[in-house]
Structure formats: C-alpha cells, structure tokens
C-alpha cells in the first residue's frame, strides 16, 4: 500500500510533524492554564514581538536619543541634554540666510527635499496619469506595456541607482550614444542642475508603475456607458476628460498625490547610490542628512540624527493623516 510517493511525502512532512509535536505540549499546558481566551495571546505574540522589536522599541529609543548628546552609541553612555538637539537643528542667526544656521546642511537638505518633492510629485502625478490614460485605451500590446511600466517597481532601489549611474556617469551609456551621434558628452552627475534633474527623473521612472496601476484601476472602474452617453451628446474629448474622467478619478488621484508626497519626503536609497548627494550637497536630501549625521560623518551625532528624523516623522504623520482622511472621504462619498 505504502508506495514510493507516500514515503516521499512522509519524509518531506517529517520535520513539520516533529515541530507540531514539539509545540503541541506547551500549547496544551498554556490553554489549560489560561482557558481558550488566552490562546489568542499566543497567536498574536510573534507578530507583536516583531512589531515591538523593530518598530515600537526603535521609536521609543529615537525619542530618547534625541534628548541626549555626545558621540556614544549606547544610550547609557550619553548625557541628557533636553531639547538641545532640536534647538541646534532649528537655530539660525538670520533666518533669511541659510549659511548662518548652526546646522546649515540640515536646511540644505530640507530645501532640496522641498524642491524635489514639488517637482517630483508633480511630474509623477502627470506622468502616471498620462500613462494610465494611454494604457486604458485599446492599444496594441497593452498587456506588454503594462508590464513594462510596472517592472521598475519590482527592482531594488540600489539596482535602480546603479543602472542609472551606469547610464549617466562620465563614461556611461548616454555619453557613448551622444558621442556616436556627434554630440559633446556631458558630466551629467557632476552638474548641479543635471544631477538634481536625474534624481527626479530616475525616482519617477522607478515608482511610476505603482501609481499608474492605482490610476488605471480607477479609470477602469468608470462605467463605459458614461463615455457612450457623452459621445451621444457630442461632447468634445477635452470636456469628457475634464467633466467626467477627472472628477470620477479624483479619489484615486488624491491617493496617488499623498502617497507620492510621503515617498518623496522619504527619498533616499536610489539617489544615494546614483549621486551620493552630490555634486557638493546639491542632491542632499533629508534622509541622507539623517543617515550621515548619525552614522557616516566623522563627528557622528546620533542625537542630532534622531531629532531630525523626529521632525521629518512629524511631517509624514501629517501627510499620512491627510491620506487617511482623503481615502475615507472618497469611500464615503463615492457614488459607484
């Protein structure tokens, strides 16, 4: 009766069966002790443990570090300094001149991040909306293009940064093509303007597939016959877009806008690999500033980094609340 397949199955299952037997007894004992209600705690414990160790405890530590000074790594070695780190970040002699600030790099990073977010989010919403509109039409190879635009989302940010570095560096692919076309090669990543533009372009390229997908889902949820009704009414295409597509896509657009804002503020990995914040500090963004202040600079100052990250966290909390509010409102007032 016991065929080869059966044996093989047993062999594969054996470790799991053993594991189940091992945890069976403690679980029984626990249940006898606490009753059936106590079992919920057992099953929640692993998740709560992970959440606690990797989220709650670091969050608490962060607040603690932000109140301490010195260069020590262990909290015990660090003297309490109150709100001095926040003061240091926010202190300037003349608030109209960045260089008079004590932590002028922090303000550089804040300014860069602000400019980046304004341009990158605008570009992101525009590009993903246009892409979604095109992909929503009955074009040839629609499935193929949908995949093409989504692939970069699956890439690790480091890979994204590296790919574009190989393309944009002095002896990179882009310059090779330009030379072959008889054009002058450019030092893309060593030019303040081009490097900043590259961070915007590359991060947009890397994430637009995700936002395109959200917008595409929204477009496909708009009933077809609304467009046919508009067609019967001789509605010009621009008016169809303004009066039908945009209003019905508004909830999805709001979600895209806020998500892009949040991720824009957090921008780090692909830019760090691509430009390293340079040339100079022209592509230094907040997360990189925090990383360098805390871990990478010679005078590393974990307290300062912690304080900066809490300030950034406050901005993100506001944006997240905005997103929650928008999506709730969208759910409540939606007519579909």
């Amino acid at each position: 009766m016991a065929g080869l397949g059966d044996l093989l199955g047993r062999a594969v299952l054996w470790p799991f069966v053993l594991l189940a037997r091992l945890i069976d007894l403690p679980l029984r004992v626990w249940q006898r002790w606490t009753g059936i209600g106590g079992m919920a705690a057992v099953f929640l414990a692993p998740t709560l443990l992970i959440f606690g160790v990797f989220v709650l405890v670091p969050l608490g530590l962060n607040f603690a570090y932000a109140m301490t000074g010195g260069t020590g790594i262990l909290l015990g070695e660090r003297p309490f300094v109150g709100f001095e780190q926040y003061g240091r970040l926010l202190e300037c002699e003349d608030y109209t001149r960045r260089l008079t600030c004590r932590e002028d790099q922090f303000w550089t990073a804040v300014g860069n991040t602000g400019v980046f977010v304004i341009f990158q989010v605008t570009l992101m919403v525009a590009v993903s909306l246009i892409t979604a509109l095109i992909l929503n039409r009955n074009i040839r190879g629609r499935g193929f293009f949908r995949a093409v635009f989504f692939f970069p989302v699956l890439l690790s940010p480091v890979v994204v940064g590296l790919i574009w570095r190989w393309i944009l560096q002095r002896q990179g692919l882009l310059n090779l093509i330009m030379v072959n076309l008889g054009l002058d090669p450019q030092v893309w990543l060593n030019d303040r303007f081009y490097a900043f533009a590259a961070t915007i372009g590359v991060s947009t390229w890397a994430h637009m597939g995700f936002y395109t997908l959200i917008l595409l889902a929204g477009l496909q949820a708009i009933p077809r016959d609304l467009y046919e009704a508009a067609e019967m009414d001789a509605t010009p295409p621009t008016r169809v877009f303004r009066r039908i597509t945009l209003p019905l896509l508004a909830p999805n657009l709001a979600v895209v806008l806020v998500l892009a804002l949040i991720r824009g503020v957090q921008i780090f990995d692909e830019v760090y690999v691509l430009t390293g914040g340079g040339p100079g500090t022209s592509t230094l963004f907040l997360t990189q500033y925090i990383y360098e202040a805390g871990f990478a600079s010679i005078l590393r100052n974990p307290g300062l980094a912690a304080a900066a990250s809490i300030l950034m966290g406050a901005v993100l909390v506001v944006l997240t609340l905005l997103q929650l509010w928008l999506s709730r409102r969208a759910e409540g007032g939606r007519v579909r």
Binding site: D225, M232, R239, L248
Partner: protein, 348 residues
Amino acid sequence: MGQITLRGIRKSFSGVDVIHGIDLTIADGELAVFVGPSGCGKSTLLRMIAGLDRPTTGTIEIDGQDVTRTSAAERGLAMVFQSYALYPHMTVRQNLSFGLENTRMPKNDITARVDDAGRMLEIMDLMDRRPTQLSGGQRQRVAIGRAIVRNPTAFLLDEPLSNLDAELRGSMRAELAGLHDRLKTTMIYVTHDQIEAMTLADKIVVLRKGVIEQVDTPLGLYNRPQNLFVAGFIGAPNMNFFNAVAVDGQAELPGGLRVAVPGNGPVTIGIRPQMLHLADPDAPALTGTIRLIEALGAETVVHAAAADGTAMVVVLSGQPALRTGETIRLAFDPDALHVFGADGQRLD
C-alpha cells in the same frame, strides 16, 4: 423628420457573426420595438443605429442620408441606456444640461429646455439631487429627460424598464406611450419582454439569432405569425403546438380529431390557449388529461396532456368545474388554427 433605414446590415465581433443581414425601414414618428430573446443582437443593432458601433457591412440611412460612417455625435439621435448611464457626480439638472452645453445654445435657453423636460417628467423637485439619491424610477425619468432635452431626430431605448419592479414597469410603460403620443418623434425601443412590445409598438421587429423573423403590427404578429418562432414567442401563455401529418388537406390531432389543413406531409398545428373552449358533450373534440388547474377567478388556466402526451395549455373564462386527473374535451373555431410546414414557415 426621423426615418431610419437599414440595408444589409451585418456585424461580427472578432470573426463571430452576430447580425446576419438586416433590412428594415422605420417610418418617421413610428414607435418600433425590437423584441427577441436575450443575446439575439437587439442591443448590437441599436448601437449600430446610434453610431456607437460600426456595422461590418451594410448601410444606415437617416432621412435618406447615409450615416454609416458618421459619428454618433453627428447623427442627432438620443439614447436611453439600460443602466441609465447618469453622470454620478452631477446633479439632475447638470445631467440634463450637460448635452446642451456642448451646443452653442445660450444659458437661458438651456435652463428653459431643462425646466420643460423636468415639468413634463415631473422631476422638478429632484433637480438638485445626485443620481445616488434617487429611486430607480426617478433615475429612469432623468435618463429619459436627458434624451428629451436634446430634441433628437429619434430616441433609442435599450431595455429602459428592465431594472424596475413590475408595478413601476407597468406605469412607466404607459408614460412612455403617452410621451411618444405627445412628442411624435421616432422611437426605437428594445426589449426582450413581448408584453412591452405588444403594448407599446406601432411596429414590432422580432429578432432571433441576428435575423429578423417578422416585422408587423402587434395584432398582425398575433393573428398571423409567419413562422413557428414568432408564433411561440408572441402571446401568453405560449401557443399550443401539435405535430401531425397532412394527407389530402386533412390532418389528425392527438386523440383522432380531424382538421382541414393546407399542404401535405408533416406539419405543426398551432392554437392559442385562449382559442380553446369546452366542447359540447357529443360533439367531436380535442381531448386531454388535466394535470394542473390555476383558478385566477376571471379565468382558469388548465395544463393538460393530449392523448399522445403533448403538453397543452387552455385558458377558459370563468370558473368551470374541473378536477385534476379528469379528461377535458375541447373545441375550437377552425379559423383559429395556425399551420406551419416542416421548415417552420406558415402555410396558407
């Protein structure tokens, strides 16, 4: 004006033929109903007339002008969709004026037109609501209003009442008929419900599998169905059919009753349930065994099996004393018979 002519219309979707050559003229001011079972191509035909789909071959004319290649926008027709297709984010007033705003019509005129339609359909008090805040019947009125304000050459309605409950359907049907009487605009009305077709239509187009089976007035279809399909489709309950063989102008119904029929060879003899009545005791009769009696008061519907087992339905007036299991003896006027040949076409 609003005369619509279809010539040799065919339509296939990715190689599958759905409409197989339709020739049809709908006169100006006529209320034509396309009726047929689900999937027979009614919507497809209507969408081609609207301009939302292009026929694979054939031409469409409106008032003598070939509009086959003309866009939906330029045909001057208005459509009422089965789903109503109201703009969900706009108020009723905005829904009604949206189409007019595409023309160069002055604002005051638009307001006047929308108000006219609103009064006609009694939806003035709903003007500031959104479609989600309306009942099914109210949405239906708004959808019709949106078509009316455009003052179209013809109205196209695709199963407009199918989402309403039975009672509302009856009253909206009467309103639509009234509306057509007042506007005198051509209407093409699609439905799978033969009662809707019979009550509304000036002319009924019976479709099956992308082919026109018959075009006639409601009573014309009822009295002289040209084939078995139409005979079975129009009229409720359905017509009774008996298979027989005609020899020398005579055929035998189950149970031995002989009737005069045209033609020779195998035939199908049809008789409507309402055309049968109880036979005199010693007169020759069509006999059957009663299986089920539905006493509705004013009339009694009897389901019976003929001698050869063929199921038949009889609608008798009043409340005759009958019992399940008994034999029923039926008589009829020979003129009430419909006889169809082996190919399903009417003989005579």
